[in-house]
């Protein structure tokens, strides 16, 4: 492009700016070194936190499993019997580093519904009291742990073992419920482990993993409309109801063979092969409450075993 007149050059000699200080404060090399060392320190801390950070901020010494047993204060159990039950749990917990929690059935406002409902708020209470524990094991009062060498988190809730044990495609309420347990559940997504006895779902012993699902499950189970509905077997039938009607509950639940966590006393209504044999994890005296008024049947049934568990516990 042609311009009419060329540009004129400035005839002023350019001046050098005076130095602001005698020495430059930061040299470029220093800036580079600073940035590099900053990155290095950041990376170091990142690695440290990855290696030593225990994950979810769980304080050390947190019991991995909490055993929850609701103590019945209304029926006429003797003090010795209750003490023995408590000692059995406490002794097992001490051996394995677990915690125990013994609320009573009058601790919760059940609004006139049967006292067996107390197990539901009791589980929530345990989750509140032990906010970092992973597994919450509800064990009915009328049961005794017989094998202290089994650990809940390793021998039952271990995903690999659980996948081998779980009973797939099984009618939830035998014999003829059309709702069956899912067949594609992974061991690490299971949040509730249950067993079946002869009459249906048995919730004398179940293990729940803490989490949002556990809260949802317990709140749904505890819904006032179920408590006021007069299910024949109160909370048991309510549980069977929600499991069958709500797939979000069924999909997180797995059934395992009865004897693994819920072996029955010989007079209790177990499934085939569900009766207690020596070496089983525990023995449950289901059905003894029904006979409670005539004789102290629970104590009678439990009598021989309460001596036995002490010898087993002290054996090794």
């Amino acid at each position: 492009m042609h311009l009419a007149l060329p540009k004129r050059k400035s005839s002023d000699a350019s001046l050098y700016k005076p130095r602001t200080s005698r020495f430059p404060t930061i040299r470029r090399s220093r800036v580079q070194a600073g940035i590099l060392s900053f990155c290095a320190i950041g990376f170091f801390f990142f690695i440290i936190s990855r290696v030593f950070g225990g994950g979810d901020g769980i304080p050390s010494g947190t019991p991995p499993v909490v055993i929850v047993t609701v103590i019945n204060t209304k029926a006429g159990y003797s003090k010795e019997y209750i003490a023995d039950i408590k000692e059995n749990r406490a002794e097992y917990a001490r051996k394995r580093g677990y915690a125990t929690f013994f609320p009573t059935d009058t601790d919760y406002d059940l609004n006139e519904s049967p006292s067996s409902w107390a197990r539901v708020p009791a589980m929530r209470h345990a989750m509140t009291k032990f906010p970092h524990s992973t597994f919450f094991w509800f064990l009915d009062q009328n049961a005794l742990i017989m094998n202290p060498f089994l650990a809940v988190e390793d021998d039952i809730m271990n995903p690999k073992l659980l996948e081998d044990m779980m009973i797939k495609d099984q009618s939830v309420v035998p014999p003829d419920s059309v709702i069956k347990t899912f067949s594609h559940i992974k061991g690490n997504t299971v949040d509730l482990v249950l067993t079946q006895d002869k009459e249906g779902l048995a919730q004398t012993s179940f293990i729940l993993r803490r989490g949002d699902w556990a809260r949802f499950f317990l709140d749904t189970w505890f819904d006032p409309l179920y408590r006021s509905y007069n299910f024949q077997k109160a909370d048991t039938h309510a549980l069977e109801h929600i499991v069958q009607w709500h797939p979000t509950i069924l999909s997180k639940l797995t059934l395992i063979p009865q004897r693994t966590i819920n072996a029955y006393y010989m007079s209790s209504p177990a499934v085939d092969g569900g009766h207690y044999q020596a070496g089983d994890f525990l023995i449950s005296f289901k059905g003894c409450e029904a006979l409670l008024s005539s004789e102290k049947s629970c104590e009678v049934w439990a009598g021989p075993y309460s001596k036995q568990w002490r010898t087993i516990f002290n054996a090794r």
Partner: protein
């Protein structure tokens, strides 16, 4: 190209042929051809010398502080000479021909208008070019973005506008089907309502799902009609796997301000737009929070964990409790669970006579009784997404928390309960017109506010343009 004004020995660069300019050094005339220059070499040299001499005389005649370009003419020389018509050397003609035509005259350019235009463009300086370029780019971008569908795709895209994350579920045909015939008014309502949502969804790149809610006896085991909200939302969760928020809207709603995006209106600052503590507006007198000792701190806290990220359900409350005419639900495991337990046969059996508002009452019941619901539910002031017309909730007169006010540009109006003794179509029509009126474009504003008013002032007649 060298533009040096100083004469060079040999005169090769000193190329001006007819140098009789008083200002001597350099001019803007286009350089003649080489042939020409060679032929007039002697002449050019002589001129060069004179010019240089004159210049140096000028310099010598005055002391150094005197500048050369003091006069008006010398200062503006360049600009003036730039604007002059240029001398046509006749570059494609031989020297001999040029001689005949009379060189040094002001000639009209060949090629006429086109060439002149070309010349004019050639004379635009660089700065102007930059300015023109910037304006052109802006115009181009505007066309690209707003005239083509680019803005639609931009607004939909996940990481840009995020419109795909929102699904509007519009319930059409509610209670229709076997129960009653649809008249022309009902058709008109449906047409207007659907068009309104379609326009809105298109504008912001949202998904729109129109569901047919006509009554069918679809459930063999229980008579579950018009509890289909739950199933519909669940189907939508499956149908739009990319979406995060689902906005349920009844048919009798109208989006009054389509220029509000859901993101800017609510979701960019969800924590501030919603409230977790129901005590701040509690028409149902729900005891909140729970104070059971067996619950966790979050569940006994009035605001849950207080983080917007834990909000999975956003519902407005009207004068009598929750209102599910317009509400949001977020995709989450929590939502799946809620949709699963929302309808339950045991609850239905005991309460279906009592729960006249069906899902709404069931949800209130769940909220009252189950702590896990409360920690993920938030409420939104009703007028944010669900303003009522004066006819609804009218027992206590006009309430600024409930009723639509055009001065505040409420987002959505819900003509709740218009099918019981009010004129649905009338209300819908009025709100549609009002929405158009409130959202006039500049041209309409000019016509109606300026021209029509001026006309009225002058002639006393009202006109419609």
């Amino acid at each position: 190209m060298s533009r040096s004004p100083s004469p060079l020995p040999g005169g090769g660069v000193w190329a001006s042929p007819g140098l009789n300019s008083p200002n001597g050094s350099g001019n803007g005339r286009s350089s003649p051809q080489k042939i020409y220059r060679i032929n007039t070499n002697a002449n050019a040299n002589a001129v060069t010398w004179e010019g240089a001499k004159a210049k140096s005389e000028g310099l010598n005649g005055y002391p150094s502080f005197s500048t050369q370009n003091s006069g008006f003419f010398s200062r503006h020389y360049r600009r003036i000479s730039n604007s002059l018509p240029s001398y046509q050397g006749g570059s494609d003609k031989s020297y001999a021909e040029k001689e005949k035509l009379g060189r040094g005259r002001w000639m009209p350019q060949d090629g006429g208008k086109m060439a002149r235009l070309k010349k004019a463009i050639g004379q635009i300086n660089r700065k102007t070019w930059y300015r023109i370029g910037v304006i052109a780019v802006i115009v181009l971008m505007y066309i690209l973005f707003y005239v083509t569908p680019a803005h639609y795709w931009w607004r939909r895209a996940k990481h840009l506008g995020g419109g795909k994350k929102f699904v509007i579920i519009l319930a059409a045909n509610q209670g229709g089907g076997v129960m009653e015939w649809k008249g022309p008014r009902e058709w008109a309502i449906e047409r207007d309502s659907v068009r309104n949502k379609k326009k809105y969804a298109n504008r912001w790149g949202y998904e729109l799902e129109i569901v047919d809610m006509s009554t069918k006896k679809r459930y063999a085991h229980e008579w579950r009609e018009s509890w289909e909200k739950v199933d519909t939302i669940r189907n939508c969760l499956r149908k739009y796997p990319d979406a995060e928020w689902f906005w349920w809207m009844d048919l009798n709603t109208f989006i009054m301000e389509p220029s509000f995006s859901l993101q800017s209106h609510i979701f960019n600052h969800l924590g501030q737009e919603t409230y977790r503590d129901i005590n701040s507006y509690n028409p149902l007198n729900i005891t909140h929070p729970f104070s059971a000792p067996y619950l966790e701190t979050e569940e006994n806290s009035p605001v849950g964990d207080g983080k917007p990220s834990s909000i999975n359900l956003v519902i407005p409350q009207d004068c009598s409790g929750f209102n599910l005419g317009s509400f949001f639900v977020r995709r989450s495991a929590w939502t799946d669970r809620l949709l699963d337990v929302w309808w339950d046969p045991v609850g239905y059996e005991q309460k279906h006579m009592e729960w006249v508002h069906k899902e709404q009452d069931a949800l209130e019941f769940l909220y009252i009784n189950q702590p896990w619901i409360r920690t993920h539910t938030a409420f939104i002031p009703q007028r944010k997404i669900n303003s009522f017309p004066p006819g609804a909730c009218s027992d206590n007169g006009n309430d600024t928390h409930i009723h639509y006010d055009q001065r505040d540009h409420d987002f959505v109006v819900n003509m709740a309960g218009c099918e019981w003794g009010r004129d649905c179509w009338g209300e819908m029509y009025n709100y549609r017109e009002l929405s158009n009126f409130l959202n006039r474009n500049p041209w309409e504003l000019f016509k109606e506010e300026l021209v029509a008013k001026a006309w009225y002032e002058i002639t006393g007649q009202k006109i419609k343009i």
